[in-house]
Symmetry: D2
Subunit: 417 residues, 4 copies
Amino acid sequence: MADIANPDRADAGRARIDWALTEMPVIRDLMQELAREKPLQGLRLGGCLHITTETANLARTLKAAGAELVLCASNPLSTQDDVAASLVQHDDIPVFARRGESHEVYYQHIHAVLDHRPQVTLDDGADLISELHRSRPELLATMIGGTEETTTGVIRLRAMAADGALQVPVLAVNDAMTKHLFDNRYGTGQSALDGIIRATNILLAGKTFCVAGYGWCGRGVARRAAGHGAKVIVCEVEPLRALEAAMDGYRVMPLLEAAAQADFMLTVTGDKQVIDTAHFEVMKDGCVLANAGHFNVEINLEALEALSRGTSRPREHVQEYTLEDGRRIRLLAEGRLVNLAAAEGHPSAVMDMSFANQVLGVLHLVRQRGKLTPGVHAVPTAIDQQVARRKLAAMQIEIDTLTPSQQAYLASWQEGT
Amino acid sequence: MADIANPDRADAGRARIDWALTEMPVIRDLMQELAREKPLQGLRLGGCLHITTETANLARTLKAAGAELVLCASNPLSTQDDVAASLVQHDDIPVFARRGESHEVYYQHIHAVLDHRPQVTLDDGADLISELHRSRPELLATMIGGTEETTTGVIRLRAMAADGALQVPVLAVNDAMTKHLFDNRYGTGQSALDGIIRATNILLAGKTFCVAGYGWCGRGVARRAAGHGAKVIVCEVEPLRALEAAMDGYRVMPLLEAAAQADFMLTVTGDKQVIDTAHFEVMKDGCVLANAGHFNVEINLEALEALSRGTSRPREHVQEYTLEDGRRIRLLAEGRLVNLAAAEGHPSAVMDMSFANQVLGVLHLVRQRGKLTPGVHAVPTAIDQQVARRKLAAMQIEIDTLTPSQQAYLASWQEGT
Amino acid sequence: MADIANPDRADAGRARIDWALTEMPVIRDLMQELAREKPLQGLRLGGCLHITTETANLARTLKAAGAELVLCASNPLSTQDDVAASLVQHDDIPVFARRGESHEVYYQHIHAVLDHRPQVTLDDGADLISELHRSRPELLATMIGGTEETTTGVIRLRAMAADGALQVPVLAVNDAMTKHLFDNRYGTGQSALDGIIRATNILLAGKTFCVAGYGWCGRGVARRAAGHGAKVIVCEVEPLRALEAAMDGYRVMPLLEAAAQADFMLTVTGDKQVIDTAHFEVMKDGCVLANAGHFNVEINLEALEALSRGTSRPREHVQEYTLEDGRRIRLLAEGRLVNLAAAEGHPSAVMDMSFANQVLGVLHLVRQRGKLTPGVHAVPTAIDQQVARRKLAAMQIEIDTLTPSQQAYLASWQEGT
Amino acid sequence: MADIANPDRADAGRARIDWALTEMPVIRDLMQELAREKPLQGLRLGGCLHITTETANLARTLKAAGAELVLCASNPLSTQDDVAASLVQHDDIPVFARRGESHEVYYQHIHAVLDHRPQVTLDDGADLISELHRSRPELLATMIGGTEETTTGVIRLRAMAADGALQVPVLAVNDAMTKHLFDNRYGTGQSALDGIIRATNILLAGKTFCVAGYGWCGRGVARRAAGHGAKVIVCEVEPLRALEAAMDGYRVMPLLEAAAQADFMLTVTGDKQVIDTAHFEVMKDGCVLANAGHFNVEINLEALEALSRGTSRPREHVQEYTLEDGRRIRLLAEGRLVNLAAAEGHPSAVMDMSFANQVLGVLHLVRQRGKLTPGVHAVPTAIDQQVARRKLAAMQIEIDTLTPSQQAYLASWQEGT
């Protein structure tokens, strides 16, 4: 019971999954520990996640812990078909995901997971849990809760909660320090640039690189683009972040002004229509557009098409739009996540921490079953700290600890100048 | 009614205060607005603050707003005597502060401020408000509240609150985003390096620079030291911060290991005895020690003296300790805040934001008089946002705003992949 | 008359060649200008170059200028088969190059070019011109000269000249400022990292990255690795470069010491057996080895094989050697140029300058026919300046010019303090 | 026989000179070695140098080697009076230099040195040797040669040589790799920023910092300003350097365009009237101007004065010019070298290398007496290498050496792909 594209590529997938595991020491240790303890024995889990080598190791860990897990993709373009095949064949985990699946099939796959009647959901953008609320409300009664991996998903879930629509507790894994501080900054930072370079092979040195959004993703990308010798411009809507970007040495300006001088524009905002008609109209010939936020709504593709007299595909992940006046706009990966579509997504080393939070988060939900109120919950600090300590140990980095008198000092207020 | 060192240097002080004001556009605007409105008319304020040119502009703003303000120093070595003189002579603000004053005089000055019976206190380390609680509890009845500028002070106040000892509301100005994100990272970042370079004139390029503490101060210093070509080592006790430092490209290790290879060691931890006997014993000949945390307790000076067979003073802010085996350890500014003692403290541009929070914080306390419970309170987000918007405007940086449909998108959860 | 792998991929090649041309504005202008003037009409040219999209645009420019050009590969693994196909089919340029060709075929291809009796050779490592001297000395009589693109090739040619073996003038294009300062630093800088990331998808942040060689390539890679958050170690044999690396903030140490702590080791030295048995013996489990110098001799592969009990191929460009004690060493691209084999070589924007020097260099040789002595010659400064001015203009960067009085000032010595 | 300002500050000077010596390990070793050998016994030396603590250690080394040395200042504002006093009192070296001396006295002091009839001159800008040629040609007969420390001085000497005016051999110490690569980039890089920060105490983060000139000084300053969070603009007249600056990630534009947006402008060009009327007219209110090139001619002060309706002196090293329209331009250190006038010049660690070249250069001139032709000569590579090796050893940095087979490989050309 599965729907995958290339069953015969399972072995290739397994080799890559094993490769990823070498960069995921925290997950590797958890997999061994939980296989002995089986704390999730018999639990039905549904995951709507990017089907990558790292997700495979998360899935194997959950299964090792005893769970009955079914997976679908959280993005039609992000599935790695060999990984899906390996999970089905080598690990006996049902997977419903085909790279390039249609919108319709995408939702069929989500429903295939819902048919499994998950007690705990794992989401990468809240599609599974919101669809469950919308069309399968009868499942809510047996649900223990869910976890959410992304900023965008957490925003959606908070909006659900604000509307009184969210019926179960959801752990905002994204908000764990060991997730968003590392995953977004270091993971998206490296992989978004990687995707752009693989897709274009254009030299960054001397180019003007505009980053829309100075959240953790934006910071990671901005630093790496600057490290490649690009002139970085940051666009923001939050005054505090704009100030930080300015004091970090970047030029900050409205997007319309940036669009007129950029060689590259990357959106990492989580919002829609960030790059729109007004911006297309002022762009330089050859401007490269990419998105590493979440959905493919950050760049207004309909508007771009409406302005174009023709398109071509000069490289695999490049769609070149020729505007009426002859300027060419180069869209990468159809506006979808460039780091997943044109590269390989987050490097394993950061997913190691994100997914350790997922595993420990699911354990927490199960242990606290019935005690957590419906709504969005933070990952407990103890889990965050545990993940950080495990990661440092794996990196062979030792750190200091406070002496008792230093702890006492921090806790005291009598001692003056 | 004042106690200052050099009344005749008032004019020099005023020139420097005016110079600072050109870098404090947010305070400058507030000074003009509040002089018209006089919202603090008749209020008794007591400030225990570093007496610098920026503090002078804060004091002038509060006075312009109608307040009756009395000031003392928050550190025996941080007073700029010409500034104190100018405040007394040109602005008629009583100041009790002499650079280099003894511990005894330091506390006499705090009591001089308490004699003024302040209704609102402004602290830079919580010495004034804690002394008020300890020895002048009768003033608590008429107090409206206080503000606290520093991390260390907030830690002490939280400890007081946890003990049930804090009797009034205190605004943690330090925790305002527009304060600690900017002041510590950019202000201490620049001024701590400035202090070290002024004190020593040693080339940083090629040297090993150890930063103990990777909070906002530590990050700012680490980036700038790396920008000067130093090889930076970070020491931390918090695993999350240690991981961030490692992924930001710094070597992370226990302090004892770092001490054996450092040419410079800077403490920015807020804790005591961070650098201690064990570290002195392994240091290289010529190692330079400085502190930009808070008090002069971060380096264990008694232990250093106990290990030394003699000291000399080769440059103004350098005390050179010769250990028994001939190695020389160079302590800057007697272990006090090197950025204040050997340089001029935070540049005006960051204090502009910190002190805008102070002014708006005092206004908030007064307006909310009687409504805030005793304890440590956050600066309201609206104040933080206001300060950021005012600062961006002063820097002539424009940013985008969300369109209504973008706001709606962020608030919705129905729209899926 | 050609030997290529995939004639049917010519159209795909052409699309990529055209894409590259958009990033090669200087070559594009030269192609148009020289097509009008035909200054190389009837000249027989032989090129032994990496067969890439940029080389295709160089070849098209030389042909547009009237030359009769024949090409072979300068590295068995660097040929892009679609490009070779396009040159043959669309541009009617004979090409002898197949990706993955054997050593034997590689030399057969060189001889195919020599059969064309080139009057001017273009080399990327001196294989063509040295083979010509060795086995086809009868061609020397009609030769005008040659050009050499690489550091390694120039070193070989200087050695030939020192031996009295070099019979014709060769322009060291590599030594043009607009070549080696840009190509090595920015081109190899970006593409070597690109190759490593594509081959491994391992996160660089927090990893220890060892660069062997601090020439222009090494500098470019070191800066970019640091920009990705890696801890960079530099190894050098030249004391001046070692000092520069140290003062640029990198740790500098002997390679044996670096090998024991590196997660990545990259050679960019131009020498052989830089990484050898002693280094393999101390490496950490999982250490990644790559070369972006010139030949595949920088890493001693025989020694590595001798130490290994088995190998596997977990990803396309990764060969994993398992040593007797279980440690795994991961060799990228069989030790050949990782930026060509696992990525796409230098981005077009830098090759634009290198190849503008090639074109102008060939013109110079032809114009100076008979006037240049045998030996290695510098590219004339006027050519270098011309390339730089053309590139700046293409990047829409304007710069200042000295006023006459400023020029006079620089030329005078009478004016004192 | 001396002319100094403060004989009573000799002890303070000595403490600082000794402090500098701890950062000058190469000079320290040379001082000990040459004191034993006395290779300059009886030689008359004249030095026209910045009178700093490092120069003092150079002077002590030359004297230890047996020379009879007389010194004057090479800049009226750069003399450190306590150092002059210590040299006179503790080392018995005649010094003619007073900080702030008039133009007239400056030349009187040069003539006092010429009265000593130097056989070898040491210059820091070629004032001594050019004045010797101009007004004391009779000394040329007994002269052995000279050394020149600066870029500017070498330019002047080359102009003299081109005019046929230079009568003696002069070693261009400035052009030694271990001098200009380190001194300019790392020394001026740190000290110019230090001077600007000491003079103004303005936050660099978020400010626009314009560097005119992208030679080694400009590169060093640009990197450090960027490291402080400034937005750096580079202005150049050389297309190659302009291209490098662009590819290093800086914005490059004409100075007039930069002047309209800069918060700071620093000249490091070696030419005159770089910042002139047209630039003053477009500057923002509060723009800070400084020079770290050579003479105070880089900023056209007469033009600035002509545009101003008044000036004031808000801080020690700041002259504030108020233009007719109310804008204020802030000139640091009267347009003289800001790193010497407002800070302490190059840190000792870089002067250590420069002055090791000076010492070994003087020895070379003496040993080659009569063999060198009049004109500007390079420092022999062997000296350069020796200085680098000595410095690395002092920094406890070990490096690799080539194996015989690696050396052979580099020298061979037979071995192909």
